[in-house]
């Protein structure tokens, strides 16, 4: 199918202008960041909008700022920028690793973190890494700004807690500090691959005991999910081989993945536990 309808794309210069364009119910357009999800959706027959608002290159969305406790990553930051932004690697290594697995170089150069999050695909690779940071999303509209914790942001299959007139401005992500992070993706192949299962984790160990644990999986449920049962199992414990076995099995018992074209429910369930093991064995 070809895109034959004309789409009126507006190119605001500032966030304020973009927010103004998004405010009117009748004139509001679809937000267009890198377009790497949208263009594909439009080309494969999804109804094309009459209007779109390009937020590509909006200066307010493009920065990464390092604060004492957290990093603020603009929604317009591309995966390539994240991948190459050396100063944040030690603070958010799981997110950086996730960004580096997205598509391949071309898609990384164009796809944005905001787009990945807002597209809300269960297979969005950055989502588990965002989740384990324990951070939040900054949303702006003409009527003001608000913050949504990431673990409440993805509400249902392809749904996010954001109104049509809201724009994701940035992600406020606590630095990992002394915790360890890991990201691992099982894709359909070695590049340009959609995830069958992927996992991100942030685990802190003090004096041999787990003091905090965040583990998140993607592609195994309608939304990215935290494995809270596994996390509570771990906290306060010493990471013995027996505990790791238990965590693996608990993860497998907790998740309820489905069969689809990319993988089987059985494999996904098993692999979910395996990725938990991988996270715990590689601290």
């Amino acid at each position: 199918m070809k895109i034959t309808e004309t789409i009126d794309i507006r190119f605001p210069k500032t966030l304020a202008e973009a927010l103004r364009l998004q405010a009117g119910e009748k004139t509001r357009g679809q937000l267009l960041a890198g377009g790497t999800d949208l263009m594909v959706q439009w080309a494969s027959g999804a109804p094309t909008p009459e209007r779109a608002t390009s937020i590509w290159n909006l200066p307010e969305l493009d920065a990464i700022e390092i604060f004492d406790d957290f990093i603020e990553v603009g929604a317009g930051v591309t995966h390539a920028f994240l991948r190459d932004a050396a100063p944040i690697h030690r603070h958010l290594p799981a997110l950086v690793a996730a960004a580096a697995t997205i598509g391949a170089a071309q898609i990384q150069a164009r796809g944005t973190l905001g787009g990945n999050a807002a597209n809300a695909s269960p297979a969005g690779d950055t989502a588990p890494a965002l989740l384990v940071s324990g951070g939040s999303v900054l949303l702006a509209s003409r009527s003001g700004t608000r913050t949504v914790p990431l673990d409440r942001f993805w509400t249902a299959y392809r749904r996010i807690d954001a109104q049509p007139d809201e724009i994701i401005v940035a992600f406020r992500l606590p630095r990992k500090g002394s915790a360890r992070e890991r990201f691992r993706k099982i894709g359909t192949r070695r590049a340009q691959a959609i995830s069958k299962v992927m996992a991100a984790s942030r685990i802190r160990i003090v004096k041999g005991r787990v003091t905090s644990a965040a583990i998140a999986l993607g592609s195994i449920a309608p939304t990215p999910v935290r494995l809270s049962a596994v996390e509570s199992l771990l906290v306060g414990q010493k990471l013995t081989p027996a505990l790791i076995d238990e965590a693996e099995q608990l993860a497998q018992a907790t998740v309820q993945p489905i069969d689809d074209i990319r993988s089987s429910a059985d494999y996904r369930r098993w692999a979910s536990g395996r990725l938990v093991r991988d996270a715990l064995e590689n601290l």
């Binding site: 199918m1 391949a104 099982i186 070695r190 691959a193 089987s264 059985d266 494999y267 990725l275 991988d278």
Partner: protein
């Protein structure tokens, strides 16, 4: 037949640059969709929404605006509603009152000023169909075959019998039986299917498009279009990949476009978008193959019994010949006195399967090479030593009774591959499901060994008699040069380059003066379709001989006209005679063009007169020659996730004389990559609605550059001396054996044998955890 004297070789054996490379690299080559025409109509095919049913009515929506739109159904077919193919059973368009046999079967064609308008109009054709229960997949067909053989619907049966199977099993100390499966594979050429049909004033048609076998539409549509071959002219546009996918299908597409073109009197173009191309064009045949083999304690194979079943889809099209090639490879590579192979083509309610690189051989070799490893394991013999013991070599007799000549480098391939990959030593390091010290991943190495019959099966080449010309002409720069006129098509494999090398060497001319115009059935003699790994071997010989014919004509003209009857030789672009100053070719050629208007060398291919083939019994010389290869795959499997990483592939090939080692290696690496996809990634299923489940590049997974292993590609040369310059088949060989080599490596790595392709992490997981995962099918 006397062999012609070969001129001193200059280009053959060298990695000459691709003659078509510049345009393709710079993007100046103009493919079908780069060509603009005025007044075109665009066609859209109206398809059946169900896989089986009775077509009761076709009604254009009365409320839709049909102005400017041409709509055709079977009622508009001037002649008989049938595409010839191999059995004249497939209608060009489903007949009103007739049975629809696959989802997407064409019912009509709409043509309009724009593709969008055509697609919209096509959606306004209402079909009244009485739905019937379909049989969709090979799995269902095999279930019928096993439970109620009498009810099994086979479109073609063929057996090969050698010796006495019962005696063979009686002599055996042990018997091993197993079944192997593989699914569809999509060719996934870069350029989708497309062509334009231009109706001509005299009622004939001109077809332009991405067509691998330009003479097929000429000979396959005479009945439906009521046009004799000379009134269907086909001109090839540059082809952006084909792999067999543009062998049979463009004939059907020509039919679809011709009907509205003839009805409207205007040219009609049909090109597919990727979705339509994946969903509704032919693929590699799914296979089920069952081997039952008897062998002695010392390993001697005493009996091979094989059932080879292909899913042909709804109509036979060319599946009989695919099955023939399959069964001819089911026991080709090993010594055994008692062989029975039974081939069948199952009918299912799915898109007819078609040609794809390998043409039945990869399916056969997938089963045989997996099974041979299993026999070796049962015998407790290392797989390579077992193959060295029982592989076929010169003097051996194939299942059809053909004696392998000395021009078969089977042993050399096997030995060199084992040596280069250091197979014997690495075999000992294989994990077999247990991590050794220092290993983080399971390691496995696997071998496959196989032959590939080159050129048409049986007496195909003898009957076909490939024809070609090499002509003296004036090139675009006004100076004399050479035109190669054969119908072989360049589709990325390098035939233009290789034939230029052959002609340049035969004529002893600069390759820069040689041109290879795209095939045009109005101008190009029929050297046959570009299929069956026959082109360099058979048509290369035609070019070589036609070029020598032209060379003799140029020499005798020069002798008469410039050298007073002295013996003259064309050598290095000069005409030379003893004791006289040489004359440049250009000078003599100009005189020849002025006086004679041109000159043309001609050759028609024939097989050696002693070739024997009985098509009924399948006995005799099943192929003019055989190429051979050994593939070795080294893999790692992550025990954590069952992900498979192919690290290194060694391929040694005997393809006869290697004309261009660079393009040949490129073919091999490309084919191995395609085989890697077949082995590990490419999976397409059928939903209950009869539609493939992977209809886009997002879901049909082929290897990317990152999935490609390190390759070690080597050639050993055992030329086919009957047909200088002595090439054998290359195109299909690299597709044949990597899947079983990988399966054998997976077995070595995990201790589990996977008998269904593709071998996904899910399949390995299921094999390792039989309780948790149902075996992936």
């Amino acid at each position: 037949m006397t062999k012609p004297q070969s001129p001193p070789r200059r280009l053959i054996g060298q990695g000459m640059m691709r003659v078509d490379g510049d345009g393709k690299v710079r993007g100046t080559t103009r493919y079908l969709n780069d060509l603009a025409y005025r007044g075109l109509l665009h066609g859209a095919v109206v398809r059946s929404p169900v896989p089986r049913g009775l077509l009761k009515g076709i009604t254009p929506d009365p409320d839709y605006d049909w102005s400017g739109i041409t709509f055709v159904t079977a009622a508009d077919i001037p002649g008989i509603n049938v595409v010839h193919m191999h059995d004249r059973t497939m209608p060009l368009l489903a007949e009103l009152g007739g049975e629809i046999r696959y989802r997407g079967e064409p019912v009509g064609v709409v043509a309009a000023r724009t593709p969008e308008r055509a697609a919209a109009a096509a959606a306004h054709i209402r079909l009244d169909i009485e739905v019937l229960p379909p049989l969709l997949t090979l799995q269902e067909a095999v279930a019928v075959f096993k439970a109620r053989p009498g009810a099994f619907d086979s479109m073609k049966d063929q057996s090969i019998v050698k010796g006495d199977l019962a005696r063979g099993f009686a002599e055996a100390d042990d018997v091993l039986e197993a079944e192997y499966w593989a699914g569809h594979q999509e060719q996934l050429y870069l350029e989708n299917q497309g062509l334009i049909v231009f109706p001509q004033k005299d009622g004939s048609i001109l077809v332009e498009g991405s067509i691998q076998c330009p003479y097929f539409p000429v000979h396959e549509l005479n009945d439906p279009l009521q046009l004799p071959p000379e009134k269907i002219r086909v001109r090839q546009t540059p082809i952006g990949g084909a792999f067999g996918g543009k062998e049979d299908y463009p004939t059907m597409l020509t039919g679809y476009a011709a009907l509205p073109a003839l009805k409207s009197g205007r040219p009609v173009k049909i090109t597919y978008e990727r979705n339509e191309d994946i969903l509704f064009t032919p693929k590699r045949h799914p296979v089920w193959v069952r081997y039952k083999t008897g062998f002695k304690k010392d390993g001697t194979l005493t009996a091979i019994e094989c059932d080879f079943l292909l899913d042909g889809g709804a109509y036979l099209t060319l599946s009989d010949v695919v099955m023939f090639r399959g069964i001819l490879h089911c026991a080709l590579a090993y010594r055994c006195d008692n062989v029975t192979i039974r081939g069948r083509v199952a009918r299912t309610n799915s898109m007819p399967c078609g040609a794809f690189r390998g043409f039945g051989a990869p399916q056969a070799i997938w089963g045989l090479e997996s099974h041979l490893d299993a026999i070796a394991a049962r015998l407790g013999k290392p797989p390579h030593l077992y193959r060295l013991q029982v592989h076929a070599r010169p003097g051996d007799v194939t299942p059809t009774g053909q004696v392998l000549s000395g021009e078969n480098g089977s042993t050399a391939c096997l030995k060199l591959a084992l040596q280069r990959a250091d197979f014997a030593r690495k075999l000992k390091r294989c994990s077999r499901g247990r991590l050794r010290r220092g290993q983080a991943k399971w390691y496995g190495i696997g071998l496959a060994f196989f032959g590939h019959g080159a050129a048409f099966t049986g007496d195909g080449e003898a009957k076909f008699k490939a024809k070609g010309r090499v002509e003296l002409t004036r090139l675009a720069d006004g100076r004399p040069g050479i035109d190669i006129r054969v119908s072989s098509t360049e589709m990325g494999q390098g035939v233009h380059t290789v034939f230029t090398q052959i002609a340049a060497d035969a004529l002893s001319l600069d390759p820069g003066r040689i041109r290879f115009p795209l095939a045009d059935t109005g101008l190009t003699p029929n050297s046959g379709p570009t299929v069956a790994s026959r082109t360099t071997m058979v048509v290369g010989n035609v070019v070589h001989r036609a070029a020598l014919d032209l060379k003799r004509q140029i020499e005798s003209f020069a002798s008469r006209r410039h050298f007073k009857g002295a013996a003259v030789e064309l050598r290095r672009s000069q005409l030379v005679a003893p004791g006289r100053p040489p004359l440049p070719f250009a000078r003599v050629a100009r005189d020849m063009l002025a006086e004679l208007g041109g000159a043309s060398g001609f050759f028609q291919f024939e097989l050696p007169p002693e070739t024997k083939w009985d098509q009924q019994a399948f006995v005799g010389d099943s192929y003019p020659g055989y190429s051979w290869s050994a593939n070795i795959a080294e893999i790692e499997i992550d025990p954590l996730t069952c992900e498979i990483d192919v690290k290194r592939v060694t391929a040694v090939l005997d393809i006869g004389r290697v004309i261009n080692p660079v393009t040949a290696s490129g073919q091999v690496e490309g084919g191995l990559t395609q085989a890697l996809g077949y082995a590990l990634l490419e999976k397409i299923g059928t939903g209950r609605n009869g539609l493939y489940d992977a209809a886009r590049l997002q879901t049909y997974i082929i290897p990317t550059a990152r999935d490609i292993p390190e390759f070690d590609v080597q050639f050993v040369e055992y030329p086919y001396t009957f047909a200088p310059p002595g090439a054998k088949g290359l195109g299909e060989l690299p597709m044949d054996g990597l899947a079983p080599a990988i399966a054998n490596a997976v077995e070595a790595a995990t201790g589990r044998r996977i008998r269904t392709l593709p071998i996904t992490p899910e399949a390995i997981f299921a094999a390792l955890h039989p309780a948790q995962g149902a075996p992936a099918s």
